[in-house]
Symmetry: C2
Subunit: 218 residues, 2 copies
């Protein structure tokens, strides 16, 4: 990303705080690349605990990236909130649905992917990975393990959906496909293998991953 | 709720599947009451495991209420997805924000309230309450306990916010206030006491709870 906005209406003082190889910032970067929007970024060094220092805590007391600072100083945390901001400013290409029924289907699938796939992957990672022992207190290994079958159960459900539909929520690419691919890519860090017999997921994942925007933040 | 739609555009074949005293259906009932929308309902008896029977699983294989069936047979699961459907059909009174910045702030707070307050309350309930031993397998008591300080930490943050703002996300009532009150009301089931020194939460909670719509589904 460069510091020159190309999509009109993006103010120059705006800044997006991200981190390298972090799944939540990657969602926003993938989304912005799909929209053709460029926003000045600042990289927060999580390894150096920059997200726990006063300067960052003033931006987001919840200690998380990404954070978007608007030109009037308003602070928007939460990846999907940042995406919705840009969807409202730049409605095309549409990624959250337009008609009421499509809006509802996108939100339904987005929540199911987040609550039943992404969160269990994150819990397996945070409660089992040795690198997280200092950050996730207490690490509860039994809870980490309990999430692995939840991930596999939802993937089986998703595979059936993708047998009947080119994309997850609608018959075209939406925010849901983006969030689901970012989650599945993160399974490697969580040390959960994607079962090879989920052929419809494999087909869809290859297609979504081949989109030029998928490289942003990856 | 009665079976006669009063807000034009609500088709007669529509049906909303809810359950008594369940927090996620209550969100939708509270929301619809705020909008003045009436939708025919069917009560799913969770105690009789009606949500695990074939008839319900055909509606929602994820085994959860609420579910909205549209007149064309489309099925919308997930409480917030159902709310967004009605917000798109009947934009007034607005409950999700209208301008891009307000949309983003509502989504930011909605996600923080769901991820950092509602989910920890739910985990404490599901992993510690004896009544859930057959439904949450495995119950991980250590994980249930680990969520109690997360709830209290977020409540402290929310109390500071409500010292400066009449409502959580905007200067008026939104979906976030509704979801947060439903979550806080559920703390009793999760056996977490609301600290008495959170006076700004107490003030805001009394105001939101006094809205006539707050009785719907409670």
């Amino acid at each position: 990303m460069v510091s020159r906005p190309v999509n009109k209406g993006t103010p120059k003082a705006m800044k997006l705080y991200i981190s390298d190889r972090a799944p939540n910032p990657r969602r926003v970067q993938f989304f912005l690349a799909e929209k053709g929007i460029e926003v000045p970024t600042h990289k927060v060094d999580l390894a150096q605990k920059e997200h726990l220092k006063d300067e960052f805590l003033r931006l987001n007391p919840r200690r998380k990236v990404p954070v978007l600072v608007l030109d009037d100083g308003t602070i928007i945390a939460e990846s999907i909130a940042i995406c919705r901001y840009f969807e409202a400013l730049h409605p095309q290409p549409n990624l959250f649905g337009a008609a009421p029924k499509d809006i509802a289907l996108v939100e339904m699938w987005l929540r199911q992917v987040e609550l039943e796939l992404w969160l269990p992957i994150q819990f397996a990672f945070r409660h089992l990975h040795p690198a997280l022992a200092e950050r996730e207190i207490p690490q509860v290994a039994q809870w980490g393990e309990a999430n692995k079958p939840k991930v596999l159960d939802f993937l089986g459900y998703l595979n059936k959906r993708l047998a009947d539909s080119a994309y997850i929520a609608l018959d075209r690419f939406t925010i849901v496909d983006l969030v689901a691919v970012v989650a599945i890519d993160f399974m490697r860090a969580a040390r959960i293998a994607l079962p090879e017999d989920l052929t419809h997921i494999a087909r869809w994942r290859a297609e979504v991953s081949a989109r030029p925007a998928a490289k942003a933040g990856a």
